[in-house]
């Protein structure tokens, strides 16, 4: 079956089907050196310059485990609430030119981190089956043909990446939509960066995602046959690929077909998945314990030390914000997440502690500070507290202007507002300005009372003009509604 429909024409998953997704995320660890040798683990160097007998797999060379890689793997495990266990390395045997030894040192049935979970922004949890260590391969560039190894004219291999330490994080099949998958990867990236294990860059390949996608009839228990989708280089392609693949499978099943378990390649250009390997080439990796390495048994004391050194993870930081008065509201979850992601929650927490309204503080941080997070992080907390306190009497536009000046030149918000003439408009003054606007436009007022909402803008505009922009548009709208409600009822 071939589906070449452009992305926009892909039918959405019908309601009676449920999409089931499990994600495998490969994370390159930010160690100075490779997993089993002392070559630099760096991105973007001249090809084949960070290589030695070990990472080139030369005859007679032997791997020696990088302790820092183990520490970062443990950090990831702890951050994902996994159990950190004694583990061993296995060899995964298969031939490929970018694998110098033609086997990959990985972990198989005794991985270092087992059984954890991750909490998404909406509060839902996705299970983590395992987070194991393995070495990266080199990078192939296939020249000519279709850019794939089997029809290329020739292939170039850069072994700089060979032997760079990875942690592969395997989720449970708990994800139910493309949006949730994106949210999961985004959350995981936040955690990986917080642990210091990764720079989180999907575009540079530091974080790589494969999706196992299946569909089942809603309300049934057994999982459908899954396909593994590879080549997902951004959150965008992850979402599109899951939607496409689920739709493909649904269409196949509804037309009486059967899903074949296979690996499929996401093609960004055509926005389709197509089979990567035929069944005939199904690999038997012939895993067996790596005899060149000894079992890894981190002491509980060391794991405790590593664990204690971890900063709070994003979910924990969000929980602190949600703990503020009025912020534990699902409608605010997005703003809470933004503030945490940008590292601005201390400002909000500080403002709340100083007695400012947490909701106003959150809104200011999520809406106004987000535009320039790096400057915002160096904002004087006392100044922010002052701004939040004043924001009740400033319009959104005015608050933004004050904040912009604070970020650029510093200074006290009250002083800036005074200098700019942004004095708060008293309720009485606002009411008077609205009265004047109604008096000047009686016909439109009747239409508004008759329910024609779009004329509200005329009154808001008139009030803004008569107050030289000092009025808060939202406050004017609210006042209009209140007047109508009292007159009409």
């Amino acid at each position: 079956m071939s589906i070449n429909a452009p992305r926009d024409l892909c039918p959405p998953t019908p309601e009676r089907w449920q999409t089931v997704v499990g994600l495998e995320v490969h994370c390159e660890l930010r160690t100075a050196t490779k997993m089993f040798c002392s070559c630099r683990a760096a991105f973007g160097d001249e090809p084949n310059t960070n290589v030695c007998p070990v990472c080139l797999g030369l005859p007679g060379s032997l791997p020696v485990l990088n302790k820092m890689a183990v520490e970062l793997a443990v950090r990831i495990g702890v951050a994902l609430h996994c159990e950190v266990r004694p583990s061993i390395f296995h060899r995964k045997n298969y031939f490929y030119p970018d694998m110098p030894k033609d086997y990959q040192i990985s972990q198989y049935d005794a991985p270092i981190n087992v059984g954890g979970w991750l909490e998404l922004v909406d509060g839902s949890r996705v299970g983590i089956e395992r987070a194991h260590m393995e070495e990266d391969t080199g990078k192939s560039t296939h020249v000519g043909g279709g850019g794939r190894i089997y029809d290329a004219l020739y292939s170039l291999v850069d072994y700089n990446r060979a032997g760079v330490p990875l942690v592969e994080i395997v989720s449970a099949p708990d994800i139910r939509s493309a949006a949730q998958a994106r949210s999961y990867v985004n959350e995981l990236r936040g955690i990986l960066m917080a642990t210091g294990a990764s720079d989180g860059k999907m575009e540079e390949g530091s974080v790589r995602v494969d999706a196992n996608v299946s569909v089942r009839r809603a309300g049934t228990d057994p999982y459908g046959t899954r396909c593994e989708v590879k080549n997902l280089n951004s959150l965008r392609s992850l979402g599109h690929a899951i939607d496409f693949e689920a739709a493909r499978q649904v269409e196949l099943l509804e037309s009486g077909g059967r899903v074949v378990q296979e690996t499929r390649h996401w093609d960004e250009a055509t926005a389709c998945t197509h089979p990567l390997r035929s069944k005939e080439e199904a690999y038997d990796y012939r895993y067996f314990p790596e005899p060149d390495l000894v079992p890894l048994a981190p002491s509980p004391e060391w794991v405790a030390t590593v664990s204690a050194s971890l900063p709070p993870m994003p979910a924990e930081r969000r929980a602190r914000l949600r703990g503020l008065d009025g912020l534990d509201d699902p409608a605010l979850a997005g703003r809470v997440a933004t503030v945490v992601e940008l590292g601005l929650e201390e400002l909000v927490l500080g403002a709340a502690a100083a007695g400012a309204d947490p909701r106003r503080a959150l809104n200011l941080a999520a809406n106004e500070l987000a535009a320039n997070p790096s400057a915002a992080r160096s904002l004087d907390p006392a100044g922010f507290v002052g701004l939040v306190a004043m924001s009740a009497t400033l319009s959104a536009t005015q608050a933004k202007a004050v904040l912009a000046e604070m970020l650029e030149a510093g200074g006290d918000p009250a002083e800036i507002a005074r200098r700019r003439g942004f004095e708060g408009l008293a309720a009485a003054a606002l009411a008077a300005a609205l009265d004047a606007a109604i008096a000047a436009n009686p016909e439109q007022w009747d239409r508004y009372l008759a329910g024609e909402d779009k004329v509200a803008g005329l009154f808001v505009g008139a009030v803004m003009r008569s107050t030289s922009g000092r009025a808060d548009g939202k406050a004017v709208t609210a006042l209009l509604r209140a007047r109508r409600a009292s007159l009409v009822s």
């Binding site: 007679g60 020696v64 030894k101 190894i149 089997y150 067996f288 060149d292 390495l293």
Partner: protein, 487 residues
């Protein structure tokens, strides 16, 4: 012939130059090497430079090391920087490693003179040196016979007097068996006592580098130099090298020594070989040891377990010889996707892998890669690899039980004296049975060594094997030295 220790004393004292010692050995090689073929490569220039360095050091009053001026032969599966290293395989012909094995660095630092790379069974897979891609080595005691293997070149080089010392590797008996057949001392140390860094892997969990020498004392001196922790090998024991030479004169009085009945009486053990073992037992009794029969029941299952585990690891270790990065590359036939007899594209990667490995590996290596690939395959893993690992545990337990009653054990090294070249080539199973007495120590990770102990009915050398528990090299050398003195 001078022992290594004699040479070192003379060179260190300046009574003899390293260059002079080297030239004597080179002239012996010139005479007999054409008929023996112990070497894949004689490294004359490298040796001369090393000898000159030692002589200058002695003249300058520096310390040239414990093996000063002693010529040494290196099995050609030990990497030597800038010097061709082939593992006696076409697939590595012409390859020059950019680094040296840790043991090579250590012997050179100790003052030894690297005189050449010795022949072996291809990738150390064999018991006769006949599977070498470069032709067999001949036993110096009888040129129609094999020297044993896989380290046959190293054993023959010592037996022929080409070098007083040589290094070999032992995965299932590849040092001890050729040592026995060539009438020299050969030691397989405890797994992890000697760094494997730079040893071209055959079966990583079994491979161990060890010395060949004409005397037990020389072997002890060489083992002291190569032993000890190495940060480049994670499986290496982090401990200082053992003091062995001081053990040699301690004697065996009061030691409890067991004769492994299951190996002494194993099927295929020739009566003349068994007779030498019992003579050795008697000599140890005379020297004051308490010698009794010992039972290691699981030892006899070692052979079967070994021929699953070693090929399994080999199938993975040898995957890297794929023509992509180094060594032989043979392009496959060009592709003809349309089947019109008009190849349109270059050969694909799979065809290149196949053609390279078909041309580069000999039949024994291919046989073991296939055996090992099968043993690890999904659906067979537990019945073959898994079962063999369980047998390995049984063997370890069986030895542990024996060592509760004995300080050391003795056994035959080989079932027979050296057999004729070509006699077992057509029958792999018979060839594999050559290692029945040596394999258990590899599976257990324990040390074992072969000491020459007279001759068989055909006048050819017979070895007696001394076994000890892990890191039991001191007691093993005491027993070996006592046997040597009793001759």
């Amino acid at each position: 012939m001078d022992t290594a220790l004699d040479i070192a004393v003379e060179v260190r004292s300046g009574r003899r130059s390293a260059r002079e010692v080297l030239d004597e050995h080179l002239s012996r090689i010139e005479v007999r090497e054409p008929e023996i073929h112990a070497f894949n490569l004689v490294t004359t220039d490298w040796a001369r430079a090393a000898a000159d360095r030692i002589d200058n050091l002695v003249k300058a009053g520096g310390d040239p090391g414990p093996l000063a001026g002693v010529p040494i032969a290196l099995k050609d599966n030990l990497c030597t920087r800038g010097v061709g290293t082939t593992a006696s395989s076409r697939i590595l012909e012409g390859w020059c490693p950019p680094y040296s094995a840790t043991v090579v660095e250590r012997v050179i630092a100790a003052g030894a003179i690297p005189l050449g790379k010795t022949n072996l069974d291809e990738f150390a897979m064999g018991s006769s040196t006949e599977s070498s891609a470069f032709g067999p080595t001949h036993n110096p005691h009888d040129l129609t016979r094999v020297p044993g293997g896989s380290s046959g070149g190293s054993a023959a080089a010592v037996a022929a007097g080409f070098v007083p010392l040589a290094l070999g590797s032992d995965t299932g008996g590849s040092i001890r068996q050729p040592a026995a057949l060539c009438g020299v001392v050969g030691v397989k140390p405890t797994y992890g006592l000697v760094s494997r860094y730079g040893l071209i892997a055959f079966a990583s969990s079994l491979d161990q580098i060890g010395p060949f020498a004409a005397t037990v004392a020389d072997a002890a001196a060489l083992l002291e130099v190569i032993a000890g922790g190495d940060p480049a090998d994670s499986t290496c024991v982090d401990c200082p090298p053992p003091d062995l030479q001081s053990c040699l004169l301690q004697g065996v009085e009061g030691l409890r020594i067991g004769v492994i009945t299951e190996l002494a009486g194993a099927e295929g053990i020739a009566s003349d070989v068994a007779a030498r073992l019992f003579a050795a037992a008697e000599a140890l009794t005379d020297a004051g040891a308490k010698v009794e029969e010992a039972s290691v029941p699981a030892a006899i299952h070692g052979l079967a377990a070994y021929y699953l585990l070693a090929p399994a690891e080999a199938s993975s270790n040898l995957a890297r010889y794929d023509g992509v990065r180094y060594g032989l590359r043979v392009d496959g036939p060009p592709r003809d996707p349309a089947g019109r007899g008009q190849p349109e594209q270059a050969a694909d990667i799979g065809a290149m892998y196949g053609a390279t490995r078909a041309a580069g590996f000999g039949p024994e290596v291919k046989r073991r890669i296939m055996l090992g690939t099968f043993a690890l395959s999904a659906g067979y893993y537990d019945a073959y690899y898994g079962q063999a690992q369980r047998v390995r545990t049984l063997i370890i337990d069986s030895f542990a039980a024996a060592y509760r009653h004995f300080d050391a054990l003795i056994a035959p090294t080989t079932p027979t004296t050296a057999f004729r070249i070509g006699a077992k080539v057509a029958d792999p199973w018979t060839m594999y049975c050559c290692d029945i007495c040596t394999i258990p120590s590899n599976l257990a990770g324990h040390p074992a060594m072969s000491v020459p102990y007279g001759a068989g009915d055909d006048g050819l050398p017979v070895g007696v094997q001394v076994l000890a528990p892990a890191l039991g090299e001191p007691v093993m050398f005491r027993v070996a030295a006592a046997l040597e003195r009793s001759l």
